[in-house]
Amino acid sequence: MNTTLKTRTPINWGRIASYAILLIFAIIYAGPLLMLINTAFKTLPDFMKDATSLATSLNIENFSEAWTRANFPRYLTNTLIYTISATAIYTITAVFVAFPVARGYIRGGNYILTLFIIALFLPPALIPQFQMMLALGLYNNPLGYILLFTVNPIGIVILVNYIKTVPIELDEAAAIDGSGYFRFVISVLLPLIRPAIATVAVLHAIGIWNELILPTIYLTNQDYYPITRGMIVFQGVYGSDWPTLAAGVLIMTLPMVIIFLVLQRYIVSGMTAGAVKG
């Protein structure tokens, strides 16, 4: 008994205060998410009677209702098509810009890198971009929409920095073995720079997945809407039916949360690197 008294540490007020403050923040951060989940399982009359009460039963019909009425299959498919194809095009073209720049295989590589960064310090491209897409007949056109997401200067900076850490002897060895430029990049370099590719691709994909302004500007046909735009339309129609709306928002949120939890390291490191470099 005596020993337990002796080893007991004094109350650490700093630690308690830290936890108290963090807990308040945690409530502000988790509260809205919990409210969303709770509402998604409630019935509309339940919600109207008391918006904050706990769901008494698991009313999963909200999800099927949101799924069909919000036209989710179509919007989700569109978003997936846009995100995957634009990210793939971007990542491949970016690697073929970053690799020769990092290696000095082209003349004026540093100027090219500067050229890529300079757009970050120029006025927004929105209006001339729209005029161009209009003139090219790419307005309200999924292909044109995908084209808008094939550029991201920060990703190129991240790739250049990472490729510089890959020993150049690999290039020499591969060349002696008779590998061509294209084959080297695809089959030797890409696997080696996988962490950087993951970071760049995930950040780019998240941006496309979340984009709301560009689909509002460029896509007028409902059949082309991505999930973000579809969600806003759904909100306009079902604005007062929060249980169904919450179920829809939850369906849209879950993939992002899962991707985030799995790839958190890449996302955070990529965003920090991008911020410090930019």
Partner: protein, 310 residues
């Protein structure tokens, strides 16, 4: 530092150029070209109608934006709101982000859960962020309404009078992006060597003295990054306004005004739509505002850094 090219000789040396072209071309076409052209369009009466003639009208758009009666008063009001938004978002997000970063950087159990939770909203995007808070701030018996009710007050939040709606958007904007500020501070905190803290503690420094004499000065690079990013980001942010309150008089910021003028929505006393030349001029005004504030801030921060870090 140029190194030899290994994958061929003669014409083969140009293969890297060939594969670089798609990426470069896309960049010039989608980003750099249009960026540069914005100032050109600001001197025209371009509309959003395909095939409509575009005329050179000189400084007319700027004159209208800055000096033409009611419309320009609305613009100055939007400009003022943009600065107010920027001020509150930057200062509060900076302060809270620093506080939270210092707290979760301690050796405490569960800090990684807190970090994950605080960063999560950053990747959710404006639509989800906005809808989540529309629900939480549901004025008829939602959790926040209940809390206010308990204190004998009430609010319509996003549907309330303009200042109330505006303040609510500032709140959500900070909630959504504080995690990013926190992460940059955390990266800075992790570069501070442990022995500095230990030395300070051995000298008998209090927690506050450790923070103000060790942590804060050594955190200067992250402080600079965060202040600049917050200022530049919040001056241009307006997506949450779109999701949470729409284009409502008394709440518009410049970014939203540009979008509304260029892509069709009514604005205060001006009710024309697709005025893309005018919107281009407005976006040049916003761009100059960002540039001037950004450069001024950077100069102040650099001078401060030289003073602190020598």
């Amino acid at each position: 530092m140029r190194t030899g090219y290994h994958f061929g000789s003669g014409w083969g040396r140009y293969i890297p150029y060939l594969f670089l072209i798609p990426g470069l071309l896309l960049y010039l076409l989608i980003a750099l070209g249009p960026s540069v052209a914005t100032s050109v369009f600001s001197f025209t009466d371009a509309t959003g109608i395909r095939g409509a003639p575009i005329n050179w009208i000189g400084l007319e758009n700027y004159r209208e934006f800055l000096f033409l009666g009611r419309a320009s008063q609305d613009n100055y009001a939007a400009l003022g709101r943009t600065l107010v938004f920027c001020f509150f978002v930057t200062t509060i997000q900076f302060g809270l982000g620093l506080l939270v970063a210092v707290l979760v950087n301690q050796r405490l159990r569960g800090t990684s859960i807190f970090r994950t939770l605080f960063f999560l909203p950053v990747i959710l995007g404006a639509v989800i962020q906005g809808l989540i808070w529309s629900l939480f701030l549901y004025p008829l018996g939602g959790p926040m309404a209940r809390i206010l009710e308990f204190f004998g007050t009430s609010s319509q939040f996003f549907g309330g009078p303009p200042p109330e709606a505006f303040a609510s958007v500032i709140f959500v904007q900070i909630w959504a992006n504080m995690g990013f500020t926190m992460v940059i501070f955390l990266a800075g905190l992790q570069t501070i060597p442990d022995d500095l803290y230990e030395a300070a503690r051995i000298d008998g420094a209090s927690s506050w003295q450790v923070f103000s004499n060790v942590t804060w000065p050594l955190l200067t690079p992250s402080v600079n990054t965060n202040i600049l990013l917050n200022i530049i980001g919040s001056l241009q942010a307006w997506q949450l306004f779109l999701v949470l309150i729409g284009y409502r008089n008394g709440t518009q910021v410049l970014g939203y005004l540009i979008y509304a003028q260029g892509f069709g929505q009514t604005s205060g006393s001006v009710t024309s739509s697709f005025r893309q030349g005018y919107a281009a001029a407005a976006s040049i005004v916003l761009f100059l505002l960002v540039l001037v504030l950004g450069i001024t801030t950077q100069n102040i921060l650099r001078r401060r850094e030289e003073r602190i870090l020598g």
